[in-house]
């Protein structure tokens, strides 16, 4: 029943939010809803009873599609991330005023429901259904509440992802007809017999859909623009949670269904990802906008995760996959922290440009300390959560190809360059006219950042619980590979 609640609570409360009048009511309502969802997600993480973690009902019997949801370790981890990020973002942006707040918060909750559905679905048609469903609220959120160029930019984002999804739909249909029992169930998809040639093109149809969502070079062009133009609360969800949809889908649906194709195309994908890592890192150095810098930094981080996933099927590579698992959570935490700071700066000073900022640490010391912790996590400094994940991912990648690991490794240095450059330009040096009268952030912002900082350091020192949580999923995927 827990998986159903995780979807139903945001859907129902989200629909109600549309009709709530005034400024405050929708805010409080959605914050409460998000906290309840978080509570349910935590209960799910600690639950071990199959009856509570699985749900299976007939949906469209004529097609063999079932409304089946299940919550294994990976789903638990991602649902926890989704459930945790919404109250954090709502809390940190509590003072922001959006025109038509009811619609804004309603769409946010629908987005949450879509994301939960993607992580929980164990029927491929249902998965596709939620995959698209998450896109629609995101489209409206970015288009209605974004920056100046929002309409064209969001439309590009929509068309890109929609096209990718449609290609995936064709592949889903093809596999569906090849399953012996004509079903969309995860198990049926895992057991379907496909020739190498079929796997080849089906792999690309799925991969392009996922690669656009992640995004992996060269399918990333929508991402910096969309992150820049979307309202920051939405950007936080897009980069903190939504990009995980792509990574998650690769692990859940791509690797186990097309093992031969993965083994065949792994070099190609890994080098694309590595090229993306270096390319995005270099571009990040040259940015003048904090949002764009974090967007490019995100492409680099996601690229490393993609590379580690595809390297994981080689002997010893499972450590890389394990690294990806915990890094999905860690990256979400870190990047949401960064966005919260960006939002705080933008709301107070009305600018995100390095050229217009400086010396903020003198006026907002609390924010500066917390931001530096987030920045260190972004560079994956030891003692922060990201270090553990990146170490494991590089370890996995190294066992696959020394060259790929070496080239990708350059990104560690580049990440330090652009992240510390950002910290320096925004917080240190002398104040400029814009930051002269700045004050420290609200308590709500600092509280949310402090929670994130605790998580960052906590998981940096003791990552074992997270590793244990996702261990079953890693083993299942690796076993599938080794069985072919």
């Amino acid at each position: 029943m827990i998986p159903v609640l995780l979807i139903l609570i945001p859907v129902i409360t989200g629909l109600i939010a549309f009709f709530l009048p005034g400024e405050k009511a929708p805010k409080i309502w959605t914050l409460l809803s998000a906290i309840v969802t978080l509570g349910v997600a935590v209960a799910g993480v600690y639950s071990h009873r199959a009856a509570e973690l699985n749900f299976d009902e007939s949906w469209i019997p004529m097609l063999g599609a079932r409304f089946s949801l299940s919550m294994d370790g990976m789903a638990k981890m991602l649902c926890l991330l989704t459930a945790a990020s919404f109250p954090l973002v709502f809390g940190a942006t509590y003072r922001n005023d959006y025109p038509k707040p009811g619609n804004f918060y309603g769409l946010m909750l629908l987005l949450q429901a879509g994301l939960m559905g993607v992580f929980l679905a164990s029927d491929c048609l249902l998965f596709y259904f939620f995959w698209e469903l998450a896109l629609i609220p995101a489209y409206f959120l970015c288009s209605a509440w974004g920056g100046e160029r929002r309409i064209a930019v969001t439309f590009k984002f929509f068309v890109y992802t929609f096209l990718g999804s449609l290609l995936m739909l064709v592949a889903i249909l093809y596999i569906y007809f090849r399953t012996p029992d004509q079903s969309f169930a995860l198990e049926s998809f895992y057991n379907v017999q496909l020739t190498a040639k079929e796997q080849g093109w089906l792999f690309w149809a799925f991969f392009i859909a996922f690669a656009i969502k992640m995004p992996v070079f060269p399918f990333h062009t929508w991402q910096p623009d969309t992150y820049e133009q979307a309202p920051t609360a939405v950007t936080a969800i897009l980069s903190g949670v939504m990009v995980k949809m792509g990574l998650y889908a690769v692990i859940r649906w791509l690797l186990p269904v097309f093992p031969e194709a993965v083994a065949h195309f792994d070099h190609c994908v890994i080098w694309l990802a590595v090229a993306g890592i270096i390319y995005a890192s270099l571009i990040a150095i040259r940015q003048d906008d904090i949002k764009r810098l974090i967007a490019y930094s995100s492409i680099a981080h996601i690229g490393l995760m993609a590379a580690a996933i595809f390297a994981s099927h080689k002997a010893g590579g499972e450590i890389g996959l394990q690294g990806v698992m915990i890094q999905m959570f860690n990256h979400g935490v870190n990047v949401i922290g960064l966005w919260i700071v960006v939002d705080a700066i933008e709301q107070q000073l009305g600018s995100r440009k390095f050229s217009e900022l400086g010396g903020l640490a003198q006026r907002a010391p609390g924010l500066a300390i917390l931001f530096v912790i987030m920045a260190f996590a972004n560079i994956a400094l030891p003692l922060t959560n990201a270090f553990v994940g990146e170490f494991m991912m590089f370890n996995g990648l190294f066992r696959f190809s020394f060259a790929a690991a070496a080239v990708a490794g350059i990104s560690i240095i580049l990440a330090a360059v652009y992240t510390l450059g950002m910290v320096q330009k925004v917080f240190y040096g002398n104040t400029v006219p814009r930051t002269e009268n700045a004050v420290d952030s609200d308590l709500s912002v600092k509280l949310m950042l402090a929670i994130l900082a605790v998580v960052i350091i906590g998981l940096g020192v003791y990552p074992q619980p997270m590793i244990q949580l996702t261990n079953d999923a890693v083993e299942a995927v690796i076993t599938k590979f080794h069985s072919i």
Partner: protein, 462 residues
């Protein structure tokens, strides 16, 4: 049989009512009542009792497929009348007669869904077409409307001629008008004669004209644009869907699968891809939403043609689902379009601020036409694609279809962008509360079928 006879009778009843009743608004109610009766009678027919046990000498054959389609068509017409009935009153001065003509068109629709000989096909097409020529020209003071009617009539007559020629040749070749006989001739391994193949090709051309498949689509944008918008809504939905049902019945059971004279699959491939190409690409460049919908109807026809390409159970179920999903969404959009003062994309600017409910409902209709999940349109497109994948070997065509579906998102989303994200007046005419409720219910229905398509499909297997 119920639907055919009753629609004709109710048409005549309405014709007399135009003499007796002077209140223009009353006709709408009489028509809605008639449609309710028709729907009830058709559902009765589906479950067994036919009120008119007439021996049709196997010229008509009533099966669940045809009867279910009749229900869809009648229900759609009922929704059309309820939502846009008032606008029919504005189209011209002969209000009752317009409703009469709509009933006669429905009579043609019901014949097309159950014909079993080529003669009945011809009769059905003509009964359906002739009232449409008149409806197209109903705004007789408008030059565009006159031109559209003339164009439609002339082109329609040509296609009728071609169809008759096709029927004659097929008859010459097979010696029968019966579909079974024709099928068995085409299905046999003896090979088919020149007459039969040419006849069938002529029929193909005529049917392509009726459903506005490329390259016989040229009349569509001009006629749809010229006709009063309220009748365009009717023509583009119920009438077009009926054309497809007839097309499917004619080419069902792969009439010419064993024939080597013509590569039918490839022929359909070419027709489908060119229809999708022309419909979608031209729709992108339109400035008027009405013209965009005309071209998008060509594009949607391309998708429906997938059913004719694959001709399996998915295709049949899917075509019914498509007919329902597409008709409901398009009727909804046209109903809203009729309330707009300006039919261009700019005319929709800022509609969400002025009329949030209309904009929200319109968004659902547009999402359905684009085939986004949570709407009936998704499953409609899904079935069409699935039918082709099931055929095997033509997955590339599905990919092409999918690429064009992505293109279609462009022009459908332009309307959404205009309504929600652009500043403007969004000027509409007076919108009544009941109209808003009607549109909202229609949007709800589309979402219901989008979440639970089984609710609709269950009916198919009554």
């Amino acid at each position: 049989m119920n639907a055919i006879i009753l629609s004709a009778i109710w048409g005549v009843v309405m014709m007399f009512s135009s003499v007796l009743v002077k209140n223009k608004g009353a006709f709408r109610h009489i028509a809605a009542l008639g449609l309710l009766v028709l729907l009830a009678a058709n559902i009765c027919d589906s479950y067994g009792p036919s009120f008119f046990p007439i021996n049709t000498h196997d010229m008509l054959r009533f099966d669940s497929f045809g009867l279910f389609f009749n229900s869809i068509a009648i229900a759609s017409t009922l929704i059309f009348v309820l939502l846009s009935g008032k606008d029919i009153e504005k189209a011209g001065s002969y209000v009752a007669e317009y409703f009469v003509l709509i009933f006669f068109v429905l009579c043609g629709v019901c014949i097309l869904s159950s014909f079993n000989t080529l003669l009945m096909l011809f009769l059905g097409i003509e009964i359906l077409s002739i009232p449409l020529y008149i409806l197209t020209g109903s705004d007789k003071r408008n030059l565009k409307s006159n031109e559209a009617a003339l164009k439609y009539f002339l082109m329609g007559s040509f296609s009728t001629g071609i169809m008759l020629m096709g029927i004659a040749l097929v008859y010459g070749g097979t010696g029968s008008f019966q579909l079974e006989v024709i099928r068995s001739v085409f299905g046999s391994y003896k090979g088919v004669s020149f007459l039969e193949v040419t006849g069938l090709l002529f029929l193909l051309v005529a049917m392509c004209f009726k459903v506005s498949a490329a390259p016989f689509h040229f009349w569509t944008p001009d006629v749809y644009d010229g006709a009063p918008a309220v009748f365009t809504s009717f023509m583009a939905t119920i009438v077009k869907a009926a054309g497809f049902i007839a097309f499917l019945k004619l080419f069902d059971a792969r009439v010419a699968d064993t024939s080597t004279a013509v590569n039918w699959k490839m022929l359909f491939c070419i027709i489908i891809i060119s229809t999708l190409l022309i419909g979608n690409i031209t729709a992108v460049f339109q400035q008027s939403v009405k013209r965009m919908l005309a071209y998008s109807s060509i594009a949607q026809a391309g998708f429906m043609l997938f059913a004719l390409f694959s001709l399996n159970d998915f295709a049949r179920e899917g075509l019914l689902l498509y007919a329902a999903a597409y008709s409901l969404a398009t009727i909804g959009i046209f109903a809203i379009l009729l309330k707009m003062k300006d039919y261009t994309f700019e005319g929709f600017n800022g509609l969400a601020k002025k009329q949030p409910l209309l904009a929200a409902a319109n968004t659902v209709f547009l999402l359905s036409l684009a085939g986004i999940p949570l709407t009936a349109g998704f499953f409609a497109k899904y079935y069409m694609l699935a039918s082709v994948v099931k055929t095997g070997g033509y997955t590339w065509m599905v990919v092409v279809g999918v690429l064009f579906a992505a293109v279609s998102a462009y022009y459908y989303f332009r309307v959404i962008q205009a309504m929600y994200f652009k500043d403007g007046e969004g000027r509409t005419e007076e919108v009544s509360g009941s109209f808003k409720i009607g549109v909202a219910l229609l949007a709800g229905l589309i979402i219901l079928f989008g979440i639970q398509p089984q609710a609709l499909l269950n009916w198919f297997y009554f």
